[in-house]
């Protein structure tokens, strides 16, 4: 058993940082329920008027629906292509592995400004009109490395013996994948896919360049922020927070918690540590 140690300095830094991270967000959520338009204390009572205002706005509804469409498409396509890619990378010894891994993780290192501008230039050159489809393509490029980071860490930690046993018993690779691999990793894959959804739902930096006349929720917030000091922005912000945090909880439960309850399923904290430590890339080299 590890001796835990009291360290007032590090504990204070941690506590203050948590305050720093949550107070501004808490203020936004609090004022979304404010009964007046005031954005400073004292707080004059609760009301849902800003939420009513937001929900009755057709622009808000359109932007939300668009965001849902784009994020769903992004999550589904990422789940399919990303699972295939993670499986290929983790189960092959091909010489292509290293260059492919480099390609897959490269978008992580490039600022969104450049990804967005490059895509805009490409779409202009090949005369693809900006639409929700171009936004989805951009989001796929952006979320792919994150999905891969999580799913690859899980696939790399699988017990090889189980798959080998399946193969020895005569199952072809598809059957092994479906009956042995998938049952062990699906919670992580779905969790990583909801991470993709959340990232897409909130993406602004790249979207700004590749979106046309349509709007998404972040685009709607951006234009509201530019126009006026409108207290309904608090309500919109809180709703956006609610959606992404909900997805986070789903993704957290699927990726992290489940492991402790069911043996054989990739487990919690270690997975996160491994994914973050970059072992996903180096795991099987």
């Amino acid at each position: 058993m590890e001796r835990t140690q009291r360290s007032p300095f590090t504990a204070t830094v941690t506590a203050l940082s948590l305050l720093f991270l949550f107070v501004p967000i808490a203020v936004v959520v609090l004022f979304s329920f404010h009964s007046t338009g005031g954005l400073s204390f004292p707080f004059r009572g609760f009301s849902l008027r800003w939420y009513e205002e937001v929900f009755s706005s057709p622009e808000f509804r359109e932007a939300s629906v668009n965001s849902l469409i784009v994020a769903t498409a992004t999550a589904v396509v990422t789940l399919l292509l990303g699972t295939l890619a993670a499986y290929g990378l983790s189960h092959s010894r091909s010489r292509l592995r290293a260059p492919l891994a480099l390609l897959f993780f490269l978008p992580l290192t490039l600022p969104g400004l450049f990804i967005g501008l490059s895509l805009l230039v490409l779409f202009t050159e090949v005369q693809i009109d900006a639409s929700l489809a171009t936004v989805t393509i951009a989001h796929l490029v952006y979320v792919f490395p994150y999905f891969l980071l999580v799913s690859l860490a899980a696939l790399n930690r699988l017990d090889v013996a189980l798959e080998e046993a399946g193969a020895d018993l005569g199952a072809n690779s598809w059957l092994v994948f479906r009956k042995v691999t998938l049952p062990q990793v699906w919670p992580v894959l779905v969790g990583a896919s909801s991470l993709a959804f959340a990232l897409s739902f909130d993406e602004f930096i790249i979207t700004f360049f590749v979106i046309g006349a349509d709007s998404t929720l972040p685009m709607f917030i951006w234009s509201t922020l530019r126009r006026t000091v409108n207290p309904s922005i608090n309500a919109i912000s809180s709703l956006l927070l609610l959606v992404t945090l909900l997805l986070f909880v789903i993704s957290f439960v699927l990726t992290f918690r489940r492991g402790r309850k069911r043996r054989g399923v990739i487990g919690g904290e270690e997975l996160m540590e491994q994914a973050l430590a970059g072992d996903a890339i180096g795991g099987r080299t």
Binding site: A85, R93, L106, P111, N156, I221, S237
Partner: protein, 301 residues
């Protein structure tokens, strides 16, 4: 925790699963070539073309690079970007180190909820954070209002908002959770015995940090620093809302060149100059780590 350490101890060859095909990875690879590499290539070509209004044409020229480098405005904005990027990266890493150490040393029942909260805050919307800081730092915001009520100030503190300070605060807010997780992940495999041994040998807190933790964390902290520096120095949204006139950055200028002025080659050339600068920072940090012999310190349990 121990399992991670054991895992990496196991001979790599035994974990290797060969024989599978790489083909399943190819569709995604094709997608990334088409929508990531090819666009970058086209964008690079744009940087060596002649500018029209919202158009480009031949012949090939390096004029755009010359123009981007010669521009006085660009130099001021590059300095702004560098200051904001460096300040953000320095503060996030400096704050993340003690948090990661605290996480590493605290009991599971405390650690799990704190990790949960930190990851949760990562999911808070990017634009909402920028907006939140505008309400907190604004002239009628939480801080100014609070100080006025306490009678500490009469006039609002104007430097709080529409400045490089405000941009940096918001960017630290955005990147801190990532950096905490990266450094914590690097610290987690360090065995508890290591800290105990250092203590038992009489190391003070200062010695522990200087001789043990900082050298071991140098490489991951440097990558986290670079990651934050690159992303915050190139951010173009936060400065628009919180930077005011003094906090405009090169990223904003690239965006304005492209969307508002329609000068594609200069926007492209500025982008590639920024990428070149980032690459140089990366090489520089690798060199420094190597010179200090901190680049390949590995901890073996």
């Amino acid at each position: 925790m121990a399992s991670v350490a054991e895992e990496s101890q196991r001979p790599r060859a035994a974990r290797r699963r060969g024989g599978g095909s790489i083909i399943p990875a190819l569709p995604a690879a094709a997608g990334l070539v088409a929508f990531f590499l090819v666009p970058l290539l086209v964008f690079a070509v744009y940087s060596v073309l002649t500018a029209g209004l919202y158009s480009v044409s031949g012949p090939l020229t390096l004029d755009a690079y010359g123009e981007a480098i010669a521009s006085r405005v660009n130099r001021t904005l590059a300095a702004n970007s560098a200051v904001i990027g460096l300040a953000t990266a320095a503060v996030t890493v400096a704050v993340a180190l003690p948090i990661a150490y605290w996480l590493r040393r605290s009991a599971r029942r405390l650690r799990i909820p704190v990790v949960f909260l930190i990851i949760a805050s990562m999911f808070a919307s990017y634009l909402v954070r920028i907006y939140a800081w505008r309400t907190v730092l604004g002239s009628n915001g939480l801080i100014n209002d609070g100080l006025r009520r306490l009678g500490l100030i009469d006039e609002p503190l104007e430097f709080l908002i529409y400045s490089r300070f405000a941009v940096t605060v918001a960017l630290v807010h955005i990147f801190l959770p990532y950096v905490v997780l990266v450094i914590y992940a690097a610290m987690a495999p360090l065995g508890a015995g290591l800290f105990e041994a250092a203590r038992d040998l009489g190391a003070s807190s200062r010695t522990l940090w200087r001789r043990l933790i900082l050298p071991l964390m140098a490489a991951p902290a440097a990558s986290a620093f670079l990651f934050v520096f690159i992303l915050s120095a190139s951010d173009y949204v936060t400065p628009q809302f919180l930077g005011g006139a003094s906090g405009v950055t090169l990223g904003v200028q690239v965006q304005v060149n492209f969307r508002t002025l329609g000068n594609y080659p200069v926007a492209a050339a500025t982008s590639f100059l920024m990428m070149a600068a980032f690459l140089m920072c990366y090489l520089l940090s690798a060199l420094v780590l190597r010179a200090l012999r901190l680049h390949d310190i590995r901890f073996v349990n």
